[in-house]
Subunit: 347 residues, 4 copies
């Protein structure tokens, strides 16, 4: 399956075309919409105040409730727009946002309203595409689950079993350690109160992928496939598999996952490799962590440049922004993972 996401935050609509969908899948539209609702803003005080119904309209590729195999197009109309909030910043790019490079790339023609095509809102069609992917995967016994691993330097407990991770499904703030979760929320609200934002990370696992998928080669290795999907999520700045960057502290004797036999199947006793050796799945869960930078749009004054005059200026960003994108990013990461898993499976 390949997807193309289109739309701008304050344009008429956003959407996605998804090609290569297997025919004959009975598409559960409620489940699809439920994924969108997980990502939707306005669920609690830690998120943006923007309200969008995010109702998905299917334009093609589904007939009598089943996928036909033809391209599946989904559209979400934009509604609650305060475009005026953004005019002041049209020529004074927000630091660490796509504004400045987007201005250059588009030759000054980008839709600047609400981040335009760079808006986090564009993750809604990604979640929709991922929701289709999840339903395709479910028919093969593959599931995706995740938790908030870290926010503002506060860590959740590591996950140990598929069951405990899947038990978090659908929670708006999925953590394994409720106490850590409370601290994270506190840190978000504190930052918000100060006109600031915080970063964090999502740890995600794909369960049920058989051993032998992928190849060591460019374009085919499983880490590369997942990474390409994950870095397409705005604000992701690091992707790690298994122990990830901690491998730089390890010895081989600690880092290697011993092979063993359980119930007649070859497994590894630990899964520090995140289910991938030599670019190929080894049958263990594919586990990775995606780190999100703090929301660059903060209320505190910042230094920018007026692109018309070339003068340095100070800006203050209005508009509605999440002080931390991580909670709402959880279903987005899972969507990207589901799309990556389909690619790895050759779907």
């Amino acid at each position: 399956m390949e997807y193309v996401i289109f739309g701008e935050s304050h344009g008429p609509a956003i959407g996605v075309t998804l090609t290569g969908v297997p025919a004959g899948l009975e598409l559960d539209l409620d489940a699809l919409q439920a994924q969108l609702d997980r990502r939707a803003p306005g669920k609690d005080a830690t998120a943006t105040a923007r309200r969008e119904s995010d109702a998905v309209h299917i334009l093609s590729g589904v007939f009598e409730g089943k996928t036909t195999g033809a391209p599946l197009a989904m559209v979400i109309r934009n509604a609650d727009q305060h475009s005026g909030d953004y005019d002041a910043l049209r020529y004074t790019p927000r630091p660490s946002h796509g504004d400045y490079p987007g201005f250059i790339a588009s030759q000054g023609c980008q839709d600047h309203r609400g981040g335009g095509h760079f808006s986090g809102r564009l993750t809604a069609p990604l979640v929709a595409a991922g929701a289709v992917a999840r339903q395709v995967l479910a028919g093969r016994g593959v599931t995706v689950a995740s938790h908030i691993a870290i926010i503002a330097g506060i860590w959740d407990s590591p996950f140990e079993t598929r069951e405990e991770l899947e038990a978090l499904a659908g929670q708006p703030f999925p953590v394994l350690d409720p106490e850590a979760g409370e601290k994270m929320r506190g840190a978000i609200l504190e930052a918000k109160g100060q006109g600031d934002s915080v970063g964090g990370a999502v740890e995600c696992a794909v369960f049920g992928l058989p051993a032998g998928l992928g190849a060591p080669d460019f374009g085919k290795n499983v880490e590369g496939v997942f990474a390409q999907h994950l870095f397409a999520i705005p604000a992701v700045k690091a992707v790690e598999f298994g122990a990830g960057s901690a491998f730089a502290y390890h010895r081989g004797s600690q880092a290697n996952d011993p092979l063993a036999v359980r119930d007649g199947a070859v497994v590894t006793e630990t899964n520090l490799a995140g289910g991938i050796n030599g670019g190929i799945t080894n049958g263990m869960p594919v586990v990775f962590t995606a780190t999100f930078r703090p929301t660059p749009s903060i209320a505190l004054p910042q230094r920018s440049v007026d692109l018309r005059t070339g003068e340095e200026v100070e800006i203050a960003i209005k508009g509605r922004h999440d002080p931390c994108v991580v909670p709402r990013a959880v279903p987005v990461v899972e969507a990207a993972a589901a799309l990556a898993a389909c690619q790895v499976l050759g779907i």
Copy 2:
């Protein structure tokens, strides 16, 4: 440019085809071979004892010293092979190596000798392809440089200027802080003495890319392009841009790079974003870190499974293996970065 790497560690030859090479490039073969020599084993006690000349033979795509634009094929013959070292492990995969998933993916038909197609030796053609890419980039004022950021938990100093990083070019163990370098080497030799291995990371920068390259979209965002190239290097398990996973500890007010004007050009005062905002280059150096797991092939006894009988067994790996791949991986990371930079430039 697109590349296909072929070959097995103990087959007749390894090599690469590189398509889309711009015509008319005066190819400096000495500079190309010099990149190969950086990667070649046997330079000091921290590396494998295998000796290979790694002489590159160009089969096509170059005429009278210049690239023709036709596919450029390069071959490196294999010579110093101790294939017998590997027969004992044919059906008892080394933990955390590609052996087991490779066995499954190839239906038991992989060339097991010396890691076959999974061998680190396959990075030699990658370096060759990258050496061509570097020469293409040089004509556009783009350079790639890097240092060992961390080995066995020991950190090098962070890099601050293009000059200090480029000054390391060609060093077999490039670090900015010689004292840290000594400690790293000590840690490698200590692990080696104990039949063990260590992991680490390379920090790399691409200088000279203009602002405005890339797009936020899947397949086009700069982080995703680089990550796909980097994860195609064996043993890379994490890729981070700019502050990377440390963003999970930051606030927006710390993490944002203020915009400023220097010599008439828009720049950022810091470069925590690693030269990329919204998936697009912002004109600052593209900076990333690639983490390498400890070499899985260690002399210490390890638990494995006999794939013929399904019984758990203990194995001891013979053969010649780097106790730490990081020093030799430096030119490999740079090669992958050069190829990624070409892709981002539309070359």
Copy 3:
């Protein structure tokens, strides 16, 4: 630029996403719609009676009248639907139509109404995408023009100059020889009167492409690029460049195009090669012919199979169908050619 066409004849909408559009193009929406209107049905007695406004709605990628470089999504709503016409044929595929293989490919789930995703109506978004491509090309001095070369075995005069071909732009039945055109129309109406249909061909030229585009290699040779775009048009069964299949009758001494110098430029005195040698443009117009099969949907009784019972049956097709798709296919061929030309130009 890459495009994805979605939609079904009787679904809520059809459309296209177009990625890689250069930023900063002032999009002429009237010119875009004019291309759609050329393709629209209902202009004369030789075409289907179906009426559709085919108004294009742009959902993204255009801001303040200019392309932004972000994906450009266009949607055309479906309106005039007689879905009931098709229910009788749901399980009795029309001979030589996509019905039967579509049934198999979709596991019986395709939208059968009006041909679903196989409908000629899906060429409307192709024309829309091509209209954008034409505007991109116009900025580079590249134009596309064509005429009806043959219908029902009746040939138009061969084209000789760019001017005479461009003079046909916008005509609903573009032929160089009006008398031949009258005969063609007569043949179409005669077939229609007998419940039958006829085939034909469009000859098309792309003017202004510089020499040196393309390569002999798979995926890059100019003939292959054009052919892939052209065969994506429903009912195209042959694609020929220059003299095309007539080369099988020629000698080299007749078929070779002598090189010459005109106004300081290297040209060929004839253009039997259709502007392409060795898979690369030679600076002459790229000229090709696309042959369209007769519309398979005819009123005459035909033999089919009931896919539920496996019994042979006789069917009679109702609904509204063009007795010859060629006149309306002219702008479709030009659209595909414009998209191919952009690909060849690396746009």
Copy 4:
């Protein structure tokens, strides 16, 4: 499977990398070489006098006689080179050959000796890749066979059964009608005697592809996939499916293939559509014709331009050239068809 062909006619070697080969295929090297031998020159008086052993050396991807799934690289060394024959033409391009556009595309840097990368000799690695594809297909009951359909305007009988076409396998001059074959050979020799060349066409069929492969969409429709493979063969200027360009003379009532049931399977009574409806296989043989232009390299004097001076000149081509490429092109067409069939099958 994807392939990259590299090499130049008079360079050290030509070859191909083939990726995505299924693992576990017992590769019949004799059968592979036999395909190469079909294409090799020097078998009779109608062909070039150049002698090449065309022995294929496998560098990777095969271990203990079986494919491993890793990239399969094959190399053929060049031996019998008369490079001096070509120096006279370095700056005076042969009409209708790749010389002139290749000069422009390569910025004057192409290897001009023997046509360089444009040489028909580059079809040898294509045949090698196709030979692997044929063996992959054989395991799925899919075969490829063909005959010379036309040379110099002389037609062979049309093929009617799989058996009669397969009976031609391996013949150096495969025709169904021996008398037509004699006339074709006479026409070739006559042209050769006059320093001239002739064109022709190959009709090819792929048997055994199941119904339901492909899609109507760009990049997926079966005609487009085959055409892209076929136009990558030098000198192919037209590709037609089924009745092809003759559809322009037909009525729907003649051109439609009635559906019927035979032995419980849905078939078509005729196969004018060439096994493809709506871009999808319908279970009948995929039948197509590829037309080859007359060899542009003829001994007769021709007009060219000296690219150094811009003056018009007359040239006479020496060197060894086939007066008709069609007989030797038969295995090349089959190779391209086999690679296309694998792509259509998702291999």
